[in-house]
């Protein structure tokens, strides 16, 4: 049975009902040959404007969000998205600007982007920045393309490998493949860090790049970072930093100072722009001077007091998307940066680290931590043995958290930790919220030990019960095909 509240818009449709109307001014008719015209009406819903608003408003009620719920997804940095940033990025003169406008019309936006690039260079101790990548993974793609172009220009085409620790995000090896590199995965040691001897063996004259996530996905800073970077550099290898976890470092350390050659930043993580249910983000790439000629176009430059875009860069990797980057997202991130000063920037990472360690300390007693020492901005725990013994798994713990109005942490990642729960509270959560989360986790532990069936059934309090993902994968139903029956399978 289909409950009223999960009806699709198409199922609410009534022939002839209208919402948005454009008054016709069609005196010229259609001057297109009949055989190139559409001959069937597309199957779009017909609703009144109120019905559209109500449909989407009711859907919004069926959704956890950072505004309403603690959302401690590890690696995702779900920090508060300041509303002033939404206001300023949607100022009319920003929104109405066409990307192919003459630079003279775009002086405000170009000035902003120019200064944002400079600020990111300063925050990371890098020399040049491109703001064109649309997301973190798009930044990785851009970075790998830059390194490829650099070695081709240098005449070292034999460098076809990228070395990546096994704790890395899936995007790292996927990026490597997209550009035709071979991925060489290196095993982390028992502490979850890079083993120097393993690294040495993996690097050769065939290595182009070493991709590091700092701190790594276990929330640990590579204590041997100096040695690691110097070993890579001695082999002529470029060191890339995946900056997804920059919220742990911002204001207390500049990656460029450690010898990082290039890195990406996720504006939708560290720099507070909203995740929007999966995007849009923005993924700036910051590089050292020697890699600047390879940055994608267009660049933003200042010349004779004017800001302009520049595309005639002979060594550039070219275009990575149409036009410019995700400008509206970038504007938000610049507003966030300006709400901090030189001195207060470190408050971000400092509080993020305190919050994560507080959770580690309090939860580590029940949920075994991967790492008994202190963590950076996130910690990785596992589902306790006592619970596993009762057939309760990490997934069940996660689903039960939803019943308490708390979003689950990232689960089953990093892959090298069994039954992982990866928790990143961020600096914008209060101690009271963390305490409520701790209490819920303690209660779940008790339930798992004495009433495991409660966890297996979770979520219990939500309108929707546990979803059948296997059914979805085996019977793909990926769109409506008619107004009435929506169960016909692709």
């Amino acid at each position: 049975m289909i409950e009223n509240d999960s009806k699709l818009s198409i199922e609410k449709s009534a022939s002839g009902r209208r919402a948005l109307v454009f008054n016709a001014r069609n005196k010229n008719g259609i001057k297109i040959p009949q055989h190139l015209l559409r001959d069937t009406e597309p199957l779009l819903p017909e609703l009144s404007e109120l019905e559209v608003i109500r449909h989407y408003t009711l859907l919004s009620h069926k959704n956890f969000s950072l505004d309403a719920n603690f959302y401690p997804l590890g690696s995702c940095t779900m920090k508060y998205n300041p509303r002033i940033n939404e206001i300023v990025s949607s100022l009319k003169n920003f929104e109405d600007l066409h990307p192919l406008s003459d630079d003279a019309c775009a002086q405000g936006t170009l000035e902003l982007l120019y200064h944002l690039e400079k600020a990111l260079c300063e925050i990371c101790a890098m020399d040049a920045t491109t703001l064109t990548p649309a997301a973190g993974a798009h930044g990785e793609f851009t970075g790998a393309a830059i390194v490829k172009a650099y070695f081709e220009n240098k005449g070292e085409k034999q460098r076809v490998q990228i070395v990546i620790p096994d704790s890395a995000h899936g995007t790292n090896p996927a990026t490597s493949s997209m550009l035709g590199f071979e991925t060489v995965e290196i095993k982390s040691n028992e502490k979850g860090q890079i083993d120097i001897e393993t690294l040495k063996k993996a690097l050769s004259e065939r290595t182009a790049m070493l991709m590091l996530t700092i701190p790594n996905t276990l929330g640990i800073f590579e204590a041997d970072i100096e040695k690691i970077v110097s070993i890579a550099h001695n082999s002529g290898v470029v060191v890339y930093m995946d900056g997804a976890n920059m919220n742990a470092l911002i204001g207390i350390l500049k990656p460029g100072d450690m010898g990082i050659d290039l890195m990406h930043l996720n504006m939708h993580k560290t720099f507070s722009t909203p995740h929007g249910g999966g995007g849009p983000g923005a993924g700036a790439i910051c590089v050292k001077k020697y890699l600047e000629p390879f940055l994608p176009v267009p660049r933003v430059i200042k010349e004779k007091g004017m800001f302009r875009t520049k595309s005639d860069c002979p060594l550039s990797i070219g275009k990575i998307k149409s036009f410019f980057g995700n400008t509206a997202v970038l504007i938000k991130s610049y507003a966030y940066i300006l709400s901090h000063s030189n001195d207060s920037l470190s408050e971000i990472s400092k509080n993020a680290i305190i919050n994560a360690n507080y959770l580690l300390k309090k939860l580590g007693k029940l949920y075994p931590p991967h790492n008994r020492e202190y963590c950076m901005h996130e910690c990785v725990l596992s589902c306790p043995e006592e619970l596993l013994k009762n057939q309760v798994r990490t997934l069940d713990v996660a689903k039960r958290l939803l019943d308490f109005g708390l979003h689950a942490p990232t689960v089953y990642f990093p892959l090298i930790v069994k039954e992982a729960l990866m928790i990143e509270p961020t600096e914008t959560e209060s101690k009271e919220t963390l305490d409520a989360f701790i209490q819920a986790m303690q209660k779940i532990y008790e339930e798992g030990k004495y009433h495991p069936e409660t966890l297996k059934k979770a979520p219990i309090n939500l309108a929707t019960k546990r979803m059948d993902e296997t059914f979805a994968a085996r019977n793909p139903d990926l769109r409506w095909e008619s107004k009435k029956t929506c169960s016909s399978k692709v």
């Binding site: 109307v21 956890f64 993902e469 409506w480």
Partner: protein
């Protein structure tokens, strides 16, 4: 400053953690790297100052009366689109990994996929990619994977931004051959010859093409597919209110720039990569896909599905590295299409077409202005002004704050007097009057 902890909180938490200072928590970091000096902002701005600073910056932009399209189109953004997409429940959610807590968002994505499939008449759509150009590049990569062939034929009237993006994405691993269009549309005879090579993965044609002209897509698709080569159509979604959709001519992949569906220009982004294909290529699709399923009580529900294609599962064997997409833009496009319905969409497309016809009519009253190609177009067309257009554009911009269109000199000598002019629903007779007047004065 958005941190929640007070000084007292910090102290008590550090005490509970069991350290006497914050520094103990980060002792793995070599000391010499710690606490560098910054110089990006002497004083943090408060909220009021931020608003003022950004209003000042925005006022330095001077958006003109704009007749440039060329892949990004000035659209009216309906109030309901803005209103709903700014709701915190959508704006501040993450990717719906926890399905039970994300049913609203998942359903909006399922509906977006349905709306796009209906519009394009294609079998399946993903949840979005970054923009039209990257969608096309991903389609090309999928075609190369499917066929195992390494040559790509691409219309020379594909948006140059897209062609450049494809080049970066294939990064030297494929040969790209251009198909000439001396008469403003693809030459099908040449296509036939080029297809003889036997090593072609796919043919890419954009409709309307970069010059705004409507291609004979059914014919091109037929020729391409009859040689066993995959056909990739790149279509403007609003034009599909009038034009034959890619599914009707059996395109294997159909992509497009979703910015047209009610998104602001925003100087290039965020936009929306529409990606659709035939169902047999589902498992080669990049990005997220939402499917309908049921919960354990049998009630309808939605989940992310067919995830074995994706980077977080398949790592270096994934179909793409994409993780973050343009979900909120897809939500906006979905609301937009839901508001329009089939009638509204047709009205909108007709209005665009008629505005472009009206603009052309007004311009060609001037004997010096000629339509460059006598071919059907949608909402964009090329005129020859009899004089070099890029200086003229700057001059009229400066004097009248009108952007007359995109000068096409970069396409070659034969286009140096040409201008690509676009008129969407946002323009009216008065605007065309101003454009014609400004050109009259300067020609």
């Amino acid at each position: 400053m958005y941190s929640a902890n007070t000084k007292e909180d910090q102290t008590s938490m550090l005490k509970e953690i069991g350290v006497s200072s914050f520094e103990e928590l980060i002792r793995q970091i070599p000391e010499k790297f710690l606490n560098p000096a910054f110089k990006f902002n002497d004083k943090a701005l408060d909220e009021m100052q931020i608003l003022k600073r950004f209003e000042e910056l925005a006022s330095k932009n001077t958006p003109p009366l704009n007749f440039v399209g060329a892949g990004a189109y000035e659209r009216y953004v309906p109030a309901a689109v803005k209103y709903i997409s700014q709701r915190g429940e959508f704006l501040t959610a993450y990717t719906p990994y926890q399905a039970e807590a994300s049913q609203g968002l998942l359903q909006t994505i399922y509906e977006y996929q349905s709306l796009v499939c209906a519009l394009f008449e294609m079998d399946v759509s993903n949840a979005s990619l970054y923009d039209g150009a990257t969608s096309l590049a991903e389609a090309v990569k999928a075609a190369v994977r499917i066929t195992g062939k390494k040559e790509i034929i691409c219309s020379n009237l594909l948006n140059p931004e897209y062609e450049k993006t494809i080049r970066t994405y294939v990064n030297g691993s494929c040969l790209i051959t251009k198909l000439n269009s001396p008469n403003g549309v693809c030459e099908t005879n040449t296509l036939n010859e080029k297809l003889e090579s036997g090593n072609i993965a796919c043919v890419i044609v954009q409709n309307p093409n970069f010059l705004g002209i409507i291609e004979d897509m059914p014919k091109i698709s037929e020729i391409t597919r009859s040689k066993g080569v995959l056909f990739i159509a790149c279509a403007d979604p609003v034009s599909l209110g009038l034009l034959k959709p890619p599914g009707a001519y059996e395109a294997d992949f159909a992509v497009g720039e979703g910015q047209s569906l009610g998104l602001p220009l925003n100087f290039g982004g965020p936009y929306l990569g529409i990606f659709t294909c035939k169902k047999k290529y589902l498992r080669q699709m990049p990005g997220r896909i939402v499917g309908m399923t049921k919960d354990k009580e049998g009630k309808r529900g939605f989940v992310l599905t067919i995830q074995a294609r994706e980077q977080h599962i398949r790592r270096n064997r994934a179909s793409s590295n994409i993780c973050s997409n343009e979900a909120l833009c897809a939500l906006m496009a979905g609301i937009y299409l839901t508001l329009l319905g089939p009638k509204g969409l047709r009205e909108l497309a007709l209005l665009n077409h008629n505005n472009a016809l009206a603009a052309l009519d007004k311009l060609t009253k001037n004997q010096k202005i000629k339509l460059r190609f006598a071919r059907p177009f949608f909402n964009e067309f090329v005129v020859d002004l009899g004089t070099e257009t890029s200086l003229l554009r700057k001059k009229i911009l400066k004097e009248e704050n009108i952007d007359i269109g995109l000068p096409l000199g970069f396409m070659g000598e034969e286009f140096r007097n040409c201008l690509l002019v676009c008129a969407t629903e946002t323009k009216n007779e008065e605007d065309f009057e101003r454009l014609a007047g400004a050109l009259e004065k300067n020609l």
